[in-house]
């Protein structure tokens, strides 16, 4: 224990010296979140200084091995670092699909050369990745995907299209599922990596019900992909994809599937008004918010237990599906209550007072939580089959 205590002290001192005060403020706007990449424009010097400090220390990916840009921390040390960052309200130095998704897949399936090359790029925030999974005809039934890579000797020629590619218009590279054998459904997909600047790649943002466009359609028109740019084995990309989906659900689970994990009633009491007894001035809404708060605090404990177990290999491998299901449904409920609590103010779509319709747009955005990364219904199928071992599921 004392070794961990010493580590905590060391982390505290390091954070004190290296985390700029501006980076301890809550995230207010989308560009407060640093995504890195070739096109990234730092919002201010503090954002850059914080990223640079974390990169130098390996703290953008603290639990990755040092040769790949991490700090080589144990699960216990990583937990301590996160606790200490949370304690001072430190922002994440770098958010990235490279860290959350591609990295873990490379750590598991990549060659040593790939790990050194790509993981360091990710850790330093040099390359911003996007994920090419879903297609217009392949949503929940992902394995039916049609984007095809034709073997041309030293390269593939890729044709097809992807949909729901998050931030494809801002990404530098894509990790992409491409069919390379039409005769083999599961064992005919290759997990390719290529530059979004390659000739033949184009993107088109999709306007969502929230009025925002975080997702794109991505088109491949005779895109040349060198034959050494794949992970795992040719035609065995489905194994990588499944592993990565598990990680995506883990990240969603550990990283806030439940959204903002604080008391909703406590936050509302200030603006909503209270009766003489000091209770929120709407008994039915108060009751619903309190019932919701119980679920929030419960899910927070679940998140802690899940991560403790996951990091030490104690968790059921499919339990991230449960975390994703419970957490995303919870977050949707939160935003329903945010709207109810906000009343007609929360309906405003573009006024300055409403911060450009922030509440309404967030509420609508959360409806995708239980669709993206595997729908709630698919999560329930997976739990039924892999955890409860129900027949024919």
């Amino acid at each position: 224990m004392s070794e961990l205590d010493a580590f905590r002290t060391e982390v505290r001192e390091w954070l004190e010296a290296n985390c700029p005060p501006e980076m301890r403020e809550p995230v207010r706007d989308e560009d407060d979140v640093c995504w890195g990449g070739r096109k990234w424009v730092f919002k201010n010097d503090a954002q850059k200084a914080w990223l640079d400090a974390c990169v130098a220390k390996g703290y953008t990916v603290p639990d990755w091995p040092k040769p790949y840009g991490g700090a080589g921390l144990t699960p216990e040390q990583t937990k301590i670092l996160k606790q200490e960052m949370k304690r001072i309200g430190a922002r994440s130095p770098l958010d990235s699909f490279g860290i959350w998704m591609l990295g873990p897949a490379l750590l598991k399936f990549g060659t040593e050369e790939q790990k050194v090359h790509y993981l360091n790029q990710i850790a330093r925030g040099e390359i911003r990745w996007c994920q090419g999974y879903s297609e217009p005809g392949s949503g929940s039934d992902l394995v039916s995907l049609q984007t095809f890579g034709e073997d041309q000797g030293d390269h593939w020629v890729v044709n097809g299209s992807k949909i729901w590619t998050s931030y494809a218009d801002k990404a530098d590279w894509i990790f992409c599922l491409v069919r390379t054998d039409k005769a083999n459904k599961y064992q005919g997909i290759t997990f390719m990596l290529f530059d979004m600047d390659s000739p033949g790649v184009s993107t088109k943002p999709i306007l969502l019900i929230s009025g925002n466009s975080p997702f794109c359609e991505t088109f491949f028109d005779d895109v040349k992909v060198p034959k050494d740019q794949f992970v795992g084995e040719v035609n065995r990309g489905w194994d990588v994809a499944k592993y990565l989906l598990g990680h995506e659900r883990e990240m969603i689970s550990g990283g806030g599937a439940g959204g903002d994990m604080v008391s909703i009633g406590g936050a509302f009491a200030k603006s909503f008004g209270k009766n003489a007894a000091g209770e929120l001035d709407d008994p039915i809404l108060r009751a619903e918010m309190a019932a919701f708060d119980v679920d929030v605090f419960a899910y927070r404990a679940m998140g802690e237990r899940f991560m403790d177990m996951w990091k030490t290999g104690r968790a059921h491998p499919a339990s991230s599906n449960m975390m994703k299901y419970v957490g995303t449904e919870l977050n949707k409920r939160r935003h329903e209550l945010v709207m109810a609590g906000g009343g007609s103010d929360a309906l405003e779509w573009d006024s300055k007072e409403s911060k450009g319709g922030a509440r309404a747009r967030s509420w609508l955005r959360t409806k995708a939580n239980s669709i993206e990364g595997g729908t709630s219904e698919v999560m329930l199928n997976v739990i039924a089959k892999r955890i409860l071992d129900l027949p024919g599921a």
């Binding site: 000091g278 309190a290 404990a301 104690r314 449960m322 299901y325 129900l390 027949p391 599921a393």
Partner: protein
Amino acid sequence: MPLYHNDDQAMLKDSVAPFMAEQAPVSHLRSLRDSADATGFSRELWAQFTEMGLPGMLVPEAHGGLGMGHMEAGIVLEEIGRNLTPSPFLATSVGAVAALAKAGGTQAGRWLPAIAGGEAIVALAIDEGAKHRPDRIATTATRAGNGFRLDGKKSFVLHGHVADMSIVAAKTDGGITLFAVPKDAKGMTADPRRLVDSSLASHVTLDGVEVDADAVIGEVDAGGEILDALLAATRTGAAAEMVGVGQGAMDMTVNYLKERKQFGKLIGEFQGLQHRAAHLYGEMEVARATVMKAQQLLDEGSEGAKLMVSVAKAKAGRAANLAVREGVQMHGGIGMTDEYDIGLYMKRDRALAEFMGDVHYHIDQVARMNGY
């Protein structure tokens, strides 16, 4: 501390789980019920508990116990819940011990070793009406002679008719005071009622019961904190037992889905049932984590424990309730029969849900603790 059982705790579970399944399975509850047992539990079984050191798990070592924590007690309670085992463990070994250990002094010295030795059953005389309202205690303790005179009515007192001592919460001039009232105290009568789950709980009348000054547990007027310790421990324990009840019901039900055939298929093949079972699994997992968190915070003496205890009682209440309702429904017709065990789970869950504050009470507490 990570939120899973460490090696010692896993070993405890490995010894308690088979013990409870072999010595006190659901058939044990049935045989007590069918023989119209008047005690409410089996003294032979309690002697076996004692051989394993269970009654004194939470009793400090200085008083002859094992000095363990709520996490360990929760392991026993979950198995009690899973097997629907009737026992005074929750009231005596968790609730009463928490109060006595918190208070220290004469009564702790008198009763803790007796509890650890399996010699004393202690009842908790807190509630006064059909609902749990510990902030509205009306029973009075007035100074009389060397001690106090107790007057009032208590309800839902588990083991009240057989307890060697009852912890009575009463109003004194400057607050709440807890008293250790021995079973033969003049003026105290216990009227046991059989409850839906076949347990026995008493309506206790205190009619001018005279106790010595040293019957006070802790200090006069300072019983609030001790009562809080008692309530936190008992609520967390009840939540752990409900996790066991819910898990037992869920396991039975999921197994049934894999056996029962209709329309030429196992009913577990139907997605309508699969999704409900999978949803229940998630709720039970969350409830389990929540109860463990409350146990951990209590064991650490953390300030955050109070909130988490209410969260745990509410969440475990919701999840176990879902488990028993889905259990009966998915069993179909046989779920309604007395012969089948799933209904017994529903009954025990109902009693535990009410004990020391139901879901609604604790949801309200969570709102209050968050300032609304």
